[in-house]
Symmetry: D2
Subunit: 445 residues, 4 copies
């Protein structure tokens, strides 16, 4: 694999995207319109998601991890400007000379970055200017896609695909962050009507699905787009194991809470215990007890907690503590991927419109592998054997975060179906709770 990387032109962003775009090109042959069409759909979706916002909502950063909606809109445009228009579109005129600095998230190779915790301190550019920035980039991108030299096309198409997946990631983060922004406001605004909330239902009983041990392969292999951190595909040895047939529910998590789980150190990792005490955790993020009943913040404002729906907004530490209390454990990412690889990508993903986790329904077990909530695994985020980050700025996309974070799998109700796959590796710090994160139990066999 490493040798293969060396042979590629320096500009290819990710192994997966190269393979993908090669295929795409073969299939679509000169049909750049298809790329442009896909570009338009994804870019438009970002703006559609913003439709319910007031101008003021675009500007708020409720904690350092959160970015204002305006920033998401601008940064995703910056991505196309920086990695496509500037290197490939000769004569491109930057929209504004300081946007390179203002909307660089973390690419050291591109240059200095405006400090992340201060993203909420920028009233300018205004929302309207950011939309003009998007239009400026979109117009130039359309021209680039149509007029690029054939020898650069493969590289360009690969980068466009990467840029669109990047934008889809930010669409999910937009919802994640906006929920946090609204949650710190005592007025508890709703992103959409409460009537849009999924109704309460029933959940199917928990069963155990057994998997035998042995050598299996995980990681991306040459069909469709993937990030570089999903490669190389490689062998791992698994002991026999079992997975829970569905996600852990709010009702089950409440049992843990009512059994005093937040006060019993024996179930917690040491760092988790300290974090939970310092931050006074007593329930998942966004939960509040009112008149003896639990309610939580949703994208439709404060709502009752549905005991049949999957628990969400728990940290890895809480997921781990619950699993210890239940006498089980979390899955490794390899255990999860092997099971997910046998399934189609379907579930409560963004296209369902639920915008909230929903109770498991009958179906192919294990249920809820895709969608609803990202599933914490017990795997630290680390390079696959043979992984080397691509040289240059795009190599910073994933590789430099391979320390101190845990892998999550499967996507959430906010993930577009086209964005998720069995090999997809998401990663957050074990203390993080503002993502749409839950978990599934696993066990030894």
């Amino acid at each position: 694999m490493a040798a293969g990387v060396a042979e590629k032109p320096a500009m290819t962003p990710f192994p997966g995207s190269r393979q993908n775009t090669t295929q795409v090109r073969q299939k679509t042959s000169h049909a750049r319109d298809a790329v442009l069409s896909q570009y338009g759909v994804v870019r438009q979706e970002s703006e559609s998601l913003c439709r319910p916002l007031a101008t003021e909502d675009y500007c708020i950063q409720s904690m350092p991890d959160v970015s204002p909606p305006k920033w998401h809109l601008a940064h995703t445009s910056w991505f196309f400007e920086t990695f496509l228009l500037i290197p490939f579109f000769s004569g491109y005129q930057r929209f504004h000379p300081q946007f390179e600095y203002l909307f660089n998230s973390y690419y050291e190779a591109v240059g200095a970055q405006f400090p992340r915790p201060q993203r909420g301190m920028l009233s300018r550019p205004t929302v309207e200017e950011v939309y003009r920035y998007r239009a400026h980039v979109d117009a130039a991108m359309a021209e680039l896609i149509h007029s690029a030299d054939e020898e650069q096309w493969e590289e360009i198409a690969g980068r466009v695909t990467l840029g669109l997946h990047h934008e889809q990631q930010h669409q999910e983060l937009f919802l994640t962050d906006l929920k946090h922004v609204f949650s710190v406001n005592p007025l508890r605004p709703a992103y959409r009507e409460p009537s849009a909330m999924p109704r309460q239902g029933r959940s199917v009983p928990l069963e155990w699905i057994d998997y035998p041990g042995g050598v299996v392969q995980i990681g991306h292999h040459g069909e469709g787009f993937a990030y570089d951190n999903e490669s190389p595909r490689h062998r791992v040895y698994l002991q026999p194991y079992a997975l829970g047939s569905r996600l852990v529910t709010n009702g089950e998590y409440l049992e843990f809470m009512e059994a005093g789980g937040y006060g019993q150190p024996e179930f917690w990792l040491s760092d988790g215990w300290r974090t939970a005490r310092e931050r006074r955790w007593e329930a998942p993020l966004y939960w509040e007890k009112q008149d003896g009943r639990w309610r939580h913040m949703t994208l439709s404002g404060m709502q009752p907690v549905d005991e049949h729906a999957p628990v969400c907004h728990v940290s890895f530490y809480e997921a781990h503590a619950y699993a210890c209390w239940a006498g089980k454990r979390l899955a490794t990412e390899a255990e999860w991927e092997r099971a997910a690889a046998e399934q189609d990508v379907a579930g409560n993903l963004r296209e369902s419109g639920a915008l909230h986790p929903v109770p498991a329904d009958m179906g192919t077990v294990p249920l809820q592998m895709f969608g609803d909530v990202w599933e914490w695994t017990q795997s630290a985020y680390a390079p696959y054997p043979g992984y080397r980050a691509t040289p240059g700025a795009l190599g910073e996309y994933n590789g430099k975060f391979m320390a101190n974070q845990m892998v999550l799998r499967g996507g959430s109700f906010a993930t577009p179906t086209a964005h998720i796959r069995a090999t997809y590796r998401n990663f957050f710090y074990p203390r993080d709770r503002w993502q749409f994160s839950g978990f599934r139990l696993a066990d030894d066999r």
Copy 2:
């Protein structure tokens, strides 16, 4: 004095305002229209000041000390709602039940307060809703002013006057805070056109005005409005002293900087030295050296530093260090007030339209006693002999801040003329720099 306070009805906010409104009533006799007219002028001015803002500008809090423009607009309305409409207007309907909490600044007796450092995290209420809140309050205030019972009128008129002075204070804070908000944005937006900046000029030479020692009186005495912290008027003994005939200029301050003043502990108070090192102070706030020349942020964006204009945005620590370096000292507030009491209130105040400090011109010495920049004194903010804070929430306006802060005198280019007077005591922490604060030298005689 204490006995006098005891005789007043509990609701009277401040001694000064009582005397004032009594007089006003005598003069205007049933002419409540005059009060309403003044109310309309001041309230309108707050909104006029906001005219250059984009919607996004209303929401930003660039540091905990700063409040977003939207918050200033709402809080000043909250003041009238809380201290006038709710106690005096029977049947008044609150605009929103949670605004009591959201827009309470620091009045413990009113109830809990939304945490100050999070004022910038609120996208809602929107700007438009805040303007509707203002209109709602204004309509009710107009009705109250016209229809209040005669026996409550004196109290009401006193509180309206207090509320309008409160609003004028926030008009200045609005400009102070907005300048900071724009300064942290790398785009350095301008509140108004650069062409509006005062032109560079010349300054008059520094002279010394001598004052003899002896017992003098300071503090407010019964004409016009004053805050409670300006009373009681009382005797103090002053040693003979001299005041500089004008404010210290940027050019003079630059000499201190170029002589290494920021690196020489012998001129600094111990706390000031530590603060300056920790925060890496090397110049006044907002100054930046570009290509060997100093420029600074203004309400018209980045501009060259005018060496003849008064230095601004220095902390008490820096003012003190400069004075030590110059072999002089700062004035006490009594020394300053005794000199100011002999002058009319005039100078580069808000009505001048400069919105920036300007060089001293010929005139009655000492020059620049009012306007341009607030002058740090060497007096810690403390109660005058016989001062007792009024009972109730309005007693929190000034009294509870009488520790750790220093008195500033004279107003700035952002202070309305009608708001300032010789007895006026402003106060900030010795480390604060974002106010329009400068200083004048004093000496022993």
Copy 3:
């Protein structure tokens, strides 16, 4: 005054000490033995105070404000080495080249200082080496005192006197700091036998002593030693006032606590309220409720709180809140000094051996002006009119601390009688509680 300062030789540390030593020399005429004898007595006392310590006790720093006993012993020797032996004793050999750095407390003009919060991280020099350092300095000082040139003698004698007062200050701080060191140890060691604790008794009733208004003089005037911050003597105008006849007792303070004083913001300064909440203050420092009764840490370990003894280990904020709750106020330093100046220096000072505050007994009112506990005043620590700090390192002794601190008066049970006087100005931050600090009420008349 400033002119007078300029005429003095640059080396004279403080105006007071010059006048003092002149007198001393005239009286004692060539009797340098007297100075040496006094030197020996004070230096020996520092070591006597350490007699109950284990070697380990000498090394501990329980918070940044506290210095280890070993450091006090070394720093007081450093003072003589730095300000006497090095400038005046030609051929003096430093004990160790790095002690100049290690034991410099805060004299920037001498050079860099080992960071204060790390004083407890130094196992070396050992205790035994520090005692050898003391002996080395003492031997050289004896030689200097006997052999100094006559023309330098006045300066030397003045500095010796300053050094001895400095050492006496550190003797008190040694006890203050040691109490804190022992208090954080769950074993709660005792500095001396519990049997040595003063017995519980009765307190005299609180009366009010009236003082008329008018111009009075405060500050040091040329008899005996004084620090530079006690000069110049100057006129102040006082309104009529009254002082409480004794200190506020534990029993009285308990009434405030039981009335909910720690939970009622209306009695607190804003900074005090915030501090008390952040630090969860609910009683004076060192108080603990056990089985429904209050006990507190003393130099004889944990002991019951004596309701008749003066309250100790309260911050200025707590003293202020109590006074507001009681409808009174604290005295200004001028009010206090004028009353104290009429009394002899006598009371529960170190020579009493109580090492703890004791109930007031019959006597000349106001009682307890000297000794028992330092009395918080409502006066911010500021320069007297005409004060200029002496040039050079010794000018850093007091002057650079004149911001953010409050004046305390009268000495405590740990202050040597020879060290305290009516003009003495002690100063600490309003949040500080580990000093032996209490308070007396005052009122307007």
Copy 4:
């Protein structure tokens, strides 16, 4: 495996120790003297290591991670008291009732713990009392070992073995911590004579040792003592790889430094880059440039850096950055263990007396697998498949730390030979530098 755990009596601390002590008992049959003898040797070694200390050295905590020598001596005794004497020795009298609290490191199941960052604030118990505590425990342990019931013997012997390995760990930590304590003292004390430092030498050239891919087994299997985190032994799949034949040297690391490695984000993990900037890392811990040459703190005080000796006191982040810069990577713990398992445990371990890393000499490659410095791996510290922490307090020994830390392998110059083995898993946070930590390069094949 989980089933096997369930069959064991609840008191058995670790699987490995049970197997071990079973064997020991079979071999030594009733010869409890052997256990007691081993006990005496290890316990005595802790005290021998302290011989060069002054009393003051025993008390210092130079940062929260560091414990004072006195604490190490007491805590290791607490371990025997808590896990052996109290449960198994009826009639045992505790030495002091509060030592259970004072010297509990992190065992929540035992009870509350004195706060770790305050271990340096305890002058009492004195050093002499701690030695008496040790003697008290040793006497009781001797009696317990001789007189315990036969049916409890296996459990007791297992726990004694665990306690002795625990004590050996603390012997290494004692040296690690003491080095830090001395390093923050500007006097830079030496633990032993400089003449004892290993002489500078030459290093062998770096070669690469290739290993084929495939399924291998790692983890402890039933011979001798092991901690629970080394079990269960299990299969892992390795890709072909290569290991560097020796540790990375100071000279090689200097090349990285001189090439600007500390200033080039492309070689760093994101968290590492941020940490290195915040803490201003520019060289390994303890390195100082004097007159253009690098020197570093050693147990013999400040000494020149030997370019041929292994680099030490680098964080995982620095090791990772170096490896990226060199175009290589760190080994996984499985890759390392598979290579180490083929070797005898030998190298520059504590018995060599060097107390410092030394240049690699000729020998069986890979060299320096044991001793010199702990080797950072790229493996996050995580449970082996099938691992379950033992119930009860002893289960807290290792399991609860399995988040956010990285595995180190191979022991250091401070590790006793009897304490280290190929399966041994040490773990620290990736930012930690005060351990004796270095690294070896690995590569893909």
